[in-house]
């Protein structure tokens, strides 16, 4: 008897064909669907993006933040800035927004990384508030009233929505594959080690602060992409909405209920949340109360989330961990 260490389970072999089929399906979908449904899909993609990014930060990186709306806001405002004020095309503006957000995240990380644990969480929240306060002061970005996106003025509604749909789909694929590859890389291993025990990881030669800073910056870029997609769908950016802490509540709910620390969990959670939102939207503030209660129950009773409950940790479609199985020799 000897132990065999594998990364994949037998379910993994289904992943690639199924993933490709779903992708092709989602790619041809807009030509079959009314655009009110396409917009709903964009919402779902945005949910998957922000949940996957928060999960990368907290579930894999061990950095619990309640201030990632800072980067959603930076992404949304940068998109408006680069399209309307600088005259760039939507795609160029989006790339600029993502890069800008990453650049902003570097100095910000030096501020919040002085804080640990719960105080890190509030620290990120303060950053989001500060960035909002600064943007409200900038008159060319509309101040407190917000600013409308004019880049689409000449494009028809159907074409616009189809373009946003395809952009959102592309970003989701990049984010999911990127997270998957990152977690299988050396950095992913370092992050997992840091999350489990930062001191021990450090003594084993992991550069703890560099690894965490890298993930913080990468995640900031992902949130900026989500933010620019939100701006492209809503066609308007308002400081109080785009920097709302409710975004944090939503992404945390999705990840916690779906399954923290897995790639599948946030996707499952996002789909669940998407349908929950459709049903509960009319109830206003009650719906956030229900989310809070469900999140508490989930943390206490099912800490591995829905994905963990369903699969009992034995199945992995996007294998980032190692499985040990006993194998008889000869």
């Amino acid at each position: 008897m000897s132990n065999v260490i594998k990364r994949s389970s037998k379910f993994t072999y289904f992943t690639i064909p199924v993933f490709v089929i779903i992708l092709i399906g989602l790619y041809v979908l807009p030509s079959k669907l009314d655009f009110s449904y396409q917009i709903k899909f964009v919402d779902l993609f945005v949910l998957i993006i922000i949940a996957t990014m928060w999960n990368l930060l907290a579930g894999f990186g061990g950095l619990v933040s309640v201030g990632q709306q800072a980067f959603i806001g930076i992404g949304a405002y940068s998109l408006v800035f680069f399209t309307d004020l600088k005259g760039q095309s939507v795609i160029v503006a989006m790339v600029c927004a993502v890069i800008f957000s990453g650049l902003v995240a570097i100095p910000l990380s030096f501020i919040v990384f002085r804080l640990k644990g719960g105080y890190f969480a509030i620290g990120t929240w303060v950053l989001a508030e500060i960035i909002k306060l600064i943007i409200v002061q900038i008159q060319s970005l509309g101040g407190g009233a917000g600013i409308s996106l004019g880049a689409f003025a000449e494009i028809g509604r159907a074409d616009r929505i189809k373009m946003v749909y395809l952009l959102a789909l592309a970003v989701s694929v990049v984010i999911l594959l990127g997270t998957f590859l990152l977690m299988r890389s050396r950095l992913g291993l370092a992050l997992t080690a840091i999350r489990d025990d930062a001191t021990a990881a450090g003594t084993l030669g992991v550069n703890v602060s560099l690894a965490q800073r890298t993930v913080f910056v990468v995640v900031a870029m992902g949130f900026a992409a989500a933010g620019s997609l939100i701006a492209l769908t809503n066609l308007r950016v308002q400081p109080d909405d785009i920097f709302s802490v409710n975004y944090s509540a939503i992404m945390i709910f999705i990840v916690v209920v779906g399954g923290l620390g897995t790639i599948e969990g946030p996707i499952l959670g996002a789909i669940l949340f998407f349908f929950l939102q459709e049903r509960l939207r009319d109830y206003g503030s009650i719906y956030l109360i229900i989310l809070g209660v469900v999140a508490i129950l989930s943390v206490l009773l099912a800490p591995r989330g829905l994905w963990g409950l369903i699969t009992r940790d034995k199945v992995s479609l996007f294998p980032t961990r190692y499985f040990i199985s006993k194998k008889r020799e000869g």
Binding site: R114, S248, L288, G292, V293, P303
Partner: protein, 287 residues
């Protein structure tokens, strides 16, 4: 002269921030939990006073609400947070964040987003004239002294009483504390109870001073947190100093430009975090 006035008013507001922060600081000191719902709990207390005082006397209302807050804290700790603590560092954080979201939206549902204030009749407007151009309100003055008294009381409680010593023992080493017969779960419950009691005092005084609405919870949490960090983790007196420094920073900022007050406070916080991350008063014995 306007600067002297700004500093004086800032100092008095600082007393309120210190009050808000002391509960946060104590709970963190004892069990390393940061209660992300702390600000919302203090706003809850202000609304509770509004309900109780609507039927009877204001001071009676205050006296009735504070024990409710303490009981609520004890109950939440014993029922949910102790369990979460055993699941790792992430769980308590997620649960207190859920508290924040639930409370804020429940208050929004019940009381709407309209601003309210606790009417204090003559006390709200009465002030003490120091010179021709400087006068201080009685209410800010009372708030400041309540802040100082609460810090002093907590200090005496933690250093001079049996229970306070047990709390510090649990904070230093929960396993060893358990070995010598301390019931950690009870101690944690008491800490959160005291934390919400203090949050309640702060919220009620806050509601008497200015208008409030359900969305102010996160703001209160952020100011409390900045006071804790400016003062230095684990130091009650540091928290008082931190609150005062934050209050003065905001007040001077607002004097320069009314829209700049809160931002100036944040800048003070960031400056301290970058150049003196251990806080103005570094950790001392006591908490």
């Amino acid at each position: 002269m306007i600067w002297t006035n700004a500093i004086l008013q800032g100092l008095l507001v600082g007393g309120l921030y210190a009050l808000l922060a002391s509960g946060l600081s104590l709970v963190f000191g004892v069990m390393r939990i940061v209660n992300l719902g702390h600000g919302d709990f203090s706003i809850l207390a202000a609304y509770l006073v509004l309900i109780v005082a609507g039927h009877s006397n204001l001071w009676l209302g205050t006296i009735a609400v504070l024990p409710i807050m303490a009981l609520l804290g004890y109950a939440l700790q014993r029922s949910l947070l102790n369990r979460a603590l055993s699941l790792g560092v992430l769980s308590p954080l997620l649960i207190t964040f859920a508290f924040s979201i639930i409370l804020q939206n429940a208050l929004l549902k019940i009381f709407s987003s309209d601003t309210r204030s606790i009417q204090t009749e003559s006390l709200g407007s009465a002030s003490l004239k120091i010179t021709e151009s400087i006068s201080v309100g009685y209410l800010p003055l009372i708030t400041f002294f309540v802040g100082v008294i609460l810090t002093l009381t907590l200090h005496v409680f933690l250093t001079r009483t049996q229970l306070g010593r047990a709390m510090r023992a649990t904070s230093d080493d929960p396993t060893a504390a358990e070995l010598i017969g301390i019931n950690n779960r009870h101690i944690y419950g008491l800490a959160t109870g005291i934390g919400l009691f203090a949050a309640g005092i702060a919220g009620i005084l806050f509601g008497m001073r200015t208008q409030f609405s359900p969305s102010l919870g996160p703001v209160a949490l952020i100011f409390a947190f900045e006071a804790v960090i400016i003062g230095g983790l684990g130091s009650l007196w540091g928290t008082l100093v931190g609150g005062i420094v934050l209050g003065i920073g905001q007040s001077i900022g607002a004097q320069i430009n009314p829209a700049f007050g809160v931002l100036a406070g944040h800048l003070v916080f960031i400056t301290i975090l970058l150049f003196k991350p251990q806080g103005l008063l570094s950790k001392q014995r006591g908490t």
